[in-house]
């Protein structure tokens, strides 16, 4: 149960950070805000939305209304997929550099735990922290929207798992970079650049219809295969919430393979590190 002790330790390390608290407060404000502001009146087949600021107006039929709410949920899911994900990375990115500050790692490694257990425990801790943040936000939003509108879109709840999955993939990169680079801003920027490239990489085939450069095309192909499929998974998440048919699960599978490979690289370099 030594891994559990490390996960717990990681938790406590993140808890004292302001960013963890701000995420929590932002989610709470969002959830309570919706609860207070949004008022729905259903009269027959018609729906009227009233808020603190406007008197109820009849705006839509039941079908249109459901459509709107699901779009709103998709919007929230996308916001969490981008902003929520990055706040989670902010809150956890310096775990590895902090573990490796002079005189700290010695204390851990002098214990009967292997380096693999230690680093993997830190990883699980970071994922657990992010998962709690994200699940709290998603489940809270799902609950108030459900209570207020009677629309219980279970797929919105599932989208939380997608976001956590994306975090656990991106975090393997954060960890690998953290073993070599002490600076957390540099680390976050590097991951951010990788993520920003993903829409371009995902649409490389279309782009290369217009550009005729074999070398550039090979480099782009390589980059596509070694980076997580952030953009494609965001599309999957949106489709999931909206109940559309899924394009393809390939990006998920290839992201898992990449994450496992990067995690192994981290473990390899971490095992060779001198204290």
């Amino acid at each position: 149960m030594k891994i559990a002790a490390i996960v717990y330790d990681t938790f406590r390390e993140c808890l004292v950070k302001k960013i963890f608290l701000s995420f929590f407060i932002a989610s709470t404000i969002g959830i309570i805000g919706i609860y207070v502001i949004l008022n729905i009146d259903i009269i027959g087949n018609k729906v009227a939305i009233s808020s603190l600021f406007s008197k109820g107006e009849e705006i839509a039929s039941m079908e249109q209304f459901e459509d709107i709410i699901i779009k709103v949920e998709a919007f929230f899911a996308m916001a969490l997929f981008s902003i929520g994900l990055f706040m989670s990375i902010f809150a956890t990115a310096d775990l590895t550099p902090s573990l490796m500050t002079k005189g700290r790692l010695d204390l851990y490694l002098a214990r009967p735990i292997s380096r693999v257990q230690l680093l993997f425990g830190k990883y699980c801790g970071a994922v657990a922290v992010a998962a709690i943040n994200i699940l709290y936000a998603i489940a809270g939003l799902w609950l108030v929207i459900g209570i207020k509108t009677g629309i219980w879109n279970i797929n919105f709840l599932y989208s939380g798992l997608n976001i956590i999955f994306m975090f656990s993939v991106l975090y393997t990169f954060v960890m690998l970079i953290g073993i070599f680079i002490k600076s957390t801003p540099v680390n976050i920027i590097a991951v951010y650049i990788m993520v920003s490239l993903s829409p371009i990489l995902a649409q490389k085939d279309e782009i290369f219809l217009f550009i005729n450069n074999k070398v550039l095309e090979h480099i782009t192909d390589l980059l596509y295969w070694i980076t997580p499929k952030y953009y494609e998974i965001s599309i999957i998440t949106k489709n999931l919430v909206e109940g559309n048919t899924m394009p393809s699960w390939t990006p998920v599978i290839s992201s898992i393979i990449i994450a496992v490979a990067v995690m192994n690289l981290s473990l390899y370099f971490f095992s060779r590190k001198n204290c």
Binding site: M1, K2, A5, I6, D9, R12, E13, L15, V16, T101, K102, G103, R104, L105, D106, L107, Y108, L109, A110, R111, P112, I113, S114, R272, N274, C275
Partner: protein, 310 residues
């Protein structure tokens, strides 16, 4: 019984892009059970690196290291090991008590065992009243005390201490020495790194002297500090002619207050010197084997090595 065994250990650190610096240069070492073994050496000698290699925290380039007869690559040997690093960097988000709990759990102790050990040890190192404060509020001396306590949490059989009294006040130093002696009496082995000679001299049974990555001398504390055939004799009213006579059997060095040191070959010579003094009716106040301090031994040794290097 041998507890630590190093054979031909070499460690080179990369410096810059291409350079290599040999921090440990062929160390052979054996440490026996139930003793306090000290490694002495100037700053940068490689003491810290050697301890980290023995603990498996730094991987050597050559040679083998065994603790309890097992290669240190096996992390399970650390079940029986405690370690206070040089300048321990305790997790800043934890209180003293939480630090103890964390490392107790990581040592594989049960929740109850961690609880009782924590309270015992916090009392022993005298920081109970600080136990609920976060570690960044601790002074250097308190950090060392907590560092020592966490090293002892799993009641290890061997304890590695790297400059344990660094930044600790004189009373604290004495208390730490007492804790160490008590541990030794309970059958524990202690491996102590220090650049403080007097301290090492006070508690170590054996010392190894390290310089530039090599163990340049090793021996029991008594062997290193008593120089055989050297006695200090105290007596009053030494006249020049008696002085002459004594010089035949021993080389004499007199001092102003009437004491003198006699360097003799063996015990017979010593007794011949004493006969001369008694025959001349001089009153002998004391005869003691001259003791060299570890400090002077150490300084002479390092000086010799530096001269050879030139």
């Amino acid at each position: 019984m041998t507890i630590i065994e190093c054979k031909g250990v070499v460690k080179k650190f990369r410096t810059g892009w291409t350079g290599k610096f040999t921090a440990i240069d062929g160390v052979d070492l054996e440490v026996k059970r139930e003793s306090i073994f000290g490694i002495l050496g100037p700053n940068g000698a490689g003491k810290t690196t050697l301890v980290k290699i023995i603990l498996g925290l730094v991987l050597p380039d050559e040679g083998s290291v065994k603790v309890f007869g097992t290669d240190v690559k096996d992390y399970k040997i650390r079940d029986r090991v405690g370690y206070l690093p040089e300048n321990p960097n305790l997790p800043p988000y934890l209180t003293g008590r939480q630090v103890m709990e964390l490392f107790g759990r990581l040592s594989g102790l049960s929740r109850e065992a961690v609880k009782t050990r924590t309270e015992e040890l916090l009392k022993e190192v005298k920081i109970e009243q600080w136990a609920n404060k976060k570690t960044p509020t601790y002074s250097k001396g308190m950090i060392q005390r907590l560092g020592l306590a966490q090293a002892l949490i799993s009641d290890p059989d061997i304890i590695f201490l790297d400059e344990p009294t660094d930044g600790v006040d004189p009373i604290g130093r004495k208390e730490i020495r007492q804790i160490l002696l008590e541990l030794k009496n309970r059958g524990k082995t202690i491996f102590l790194n220090s650049h403080l000679l007097s301290e090492t001299e006070m508690i170590c049974d054996r010392v190894g002297i390290m310089d530039k990555g090599k163990i340049v001398a090793e021996g029991g504390m008594k062997e290193l500090t008593t120089t055989s055939n050297k006695y200090s004799i105290k007596c009053k009213n030494l006249t020049p002619d008696i002085f002459e006579k004594l010089n035949e059997t021993a080389s004499i060095k007199s001092t102003l207050d009437g004491t003198f040191e006699a360097f003799v070959e063996n015990l017979e010579s010593l007794n011949r010197v004493l006969d001369v003094l008694r025959n001349n009716n001089l009153l002998i106040e004391s005869v003691t084997p001259a003791k060299q301090s570890l400090e002077s031994y150490f300084i002479d040794l390092i000086k010799d090595i530096r001269e050879e290097d030139k």
